[in-house]
């Protein structure tokens, strides 16, 4: 089985840097790290393949960490024309790159931790003409079919889907392994297929700032959190908390 995982490199959320006022996007000149939400898909892919098959990572920035975790090879799309790509532009690029690998299964995170649009995986599936299953918390493959436990507000749905397909994986559902010492040493000699958009048959006008179908009109700092109400327990705290939650209609 061949599994493609889509991964993204993002500025470290602990030290995210700044927004560029001219482009209204996050500056990416800081040190980039593997988006944690992608690490779950990587771990799932490695567990699914378990040495019998191939894990290929597809990314738009170099990523040694995933190769060190155990992925077999990478397709790296790098092209100056990609700067400023919105969700659809990104999806076009990823879809074209994934096609080169001819995978049985594509895994992606539900959403990235910097952009949070949460739309790329489904756009990729659509462009590839594949079915997609979202919010997977468990994934199993047997006889050309993927069986997914799909997270819902109330619990989960059992969903099956024929391969090839795309599954987006919820954060926190598996324990991603650390890159091992030997994995780190092996990573540098793993094949990385570095391609530009011309290799993928994509027109520069369809991606990046030029191809943007989305315009960022304004950026505002998030409103400061208001002070909460402190409930001192005088024996009836639970009643007051319950009625507060009822007022919010969360219970």
């Amino acid at each position: 089985m061949k599994v493609v995982v889509c991964v993204k490199q993002i500025p470290d959320p602990a030290d995210p840097g700044e927004i560029d006022p001219s482009t209204k996007t996050l500056k990416r000149d800081v040190k980039l790290i593997l988006d944690e939400s992608d690490s779950y898909g990587v771990e799932m892919a490695l567990q699914l393949v378990d040495g019998d098959g191939e894990v290929v990572l597809v990314s738009m920035a170099p990523n040694n960490e995933v190769l060190a975790m155990g992925a077999d090879s990478a397709i790296l799309v790098s092209d100056e024309a990609l700067a400023g790509s919105d969700a659809l532009g990104t999806a076009k690029v990823l879809a074209a790159a994934i096609k080169r690998a001819e995978p049985d299964l594509v895994l992606a995170a539900t959403e990235s931790s910097d952009g949070y649009t949460g739309t790329v995986p489904e756009q990729v599936a659509e462009l590839l003409g594949m079915p997609s299953v979202t919010f997977a918390k468990e994934v199993a493959v047997a006889d050309g079919t993927v069986a997914v436990k799909r997270q819902t507000e109330a619990g989960y749905d059992d969903v099956t889907c024929p391969l090839p397909c795309l599954v987006s994986v919820t954060a926190g559902v598996v324990e991603p392994r650390y890159p091992s010492f030997k994995g780190i040493m092996a990573a540098k000699s793993k094949p990385v297929d570095e391609v530009g958009i011309a290799d993928l048959g994509i027109d520069a006008g369809a991606v990046g700032w030029a191809g943007g179908g989305q315009e960022i009109v304004a950026i505002e700092p998030a409103p400061a959190r208001e002070a909460g109400e402190i409930v001192e327990d005088e024996g009836d705290a639970y009643e007051r908390i319950v009625s507060f939650l009822e007022e919010l209609k969360v219970i």
Partner: protein, 388 residues
Amino acid sequence: MEFAETDDHQAIREGIQRICADFNDEYWATCDDTHEFPWAFYEALAASGWVGIAIPEEFGGGGQGITEASIMLEEIAASGAAMNGCSAVHLSIFGMEPVRRYGSPELAAKVLPRVASGELHVAFGVTEPDAGTDTTRIRTRAVRDGDEYVITGAKVWTTKAPMCEMCLLLVRTTPYEAAASPTEGLSLFLVDLQDPAVDITPIPKLGRNAVVSCEVRYDGLRVPASRLIGQEGEGFRYILDGLNPERILIASEALGIGRVCVERASGYATDRVVFDRPIGQNQGIAFPLADAHMRLHAASLVIREASWRYDNNLSCAEAANTAKYLASDAAFYAADRAMQTHGGFGYAKEYHIERYWREARLMKIAPVSQEMVLNFVSAKVLGMPKSY
């Protein structure tokens, strides 16, 4: 001459940083306060193959040199794990080198793969209540009895003893008085520690409290002769062989602590405002931190020279001793200046500086004191008369 760090070395730093990021200061403070061995941290390192980094590949290790091992330990210390983190793995990294070099092939094949995987913990027992710096004065005896040796005596400071299945133990097979010279008649054994004839008592101590160091009494412990490392009577020579790599690793651990101290202190000095200005604007605060940084930098260069010499089979005793001396000194200076910079908060547990300070102090004493390094350089490098 080339000073740039290789991509591999950079990758080792990042790989260790990646793991250590999940074990923050609170984790280490809790381990220290509760005297709990840092199992979760140890297991994370073991599962990802780091514990065996310097054990040869034929035994399932990473096959790297002292340079790579020292980079790994420096980064563990620099993450804020300090000595609690380093001592948890230290002996597995290079402590079994005498077994590899001088032990029987059967013993090496039995033991080293389990050390490399992290499954087998080993301790090191040399120091005795009446023989620290003067190792030749140890009195723990091993007496041959058929296919076995019977070991009786007492060690102090055996680190990690309760967690360790085995201990590399230096004993006398010929008493001091009967030996042809003080360094003869010493033998090295790999003994089982968890035996009814062995009594282990932790020693309450200033710091590095996640990893215990213990008094260990051997009361007629029977050890198969196959656990003798190399030749009977040659133990002192085998131990000497391991001293230089040990010093290089300890120096790197000290360097890591020094780095985290300077980093925290310079951050604090920039943020903390007293008399309407950041305290780091006062040169009385800033200069010592700049000084500490430079001292650490100098030590790091000697560490690199020493490890390079060792890995290239060149004599390295002077460089290894110098590295240990300069790094321990710079690290404790950095910790002390970090405490001064933090004022009262430096003394409070909340900022972790006091933990670094307690742990940085250790390397000026153990595994070899600063004075013994000065003795070495005075006598062996400068050729002056030996003082003892």
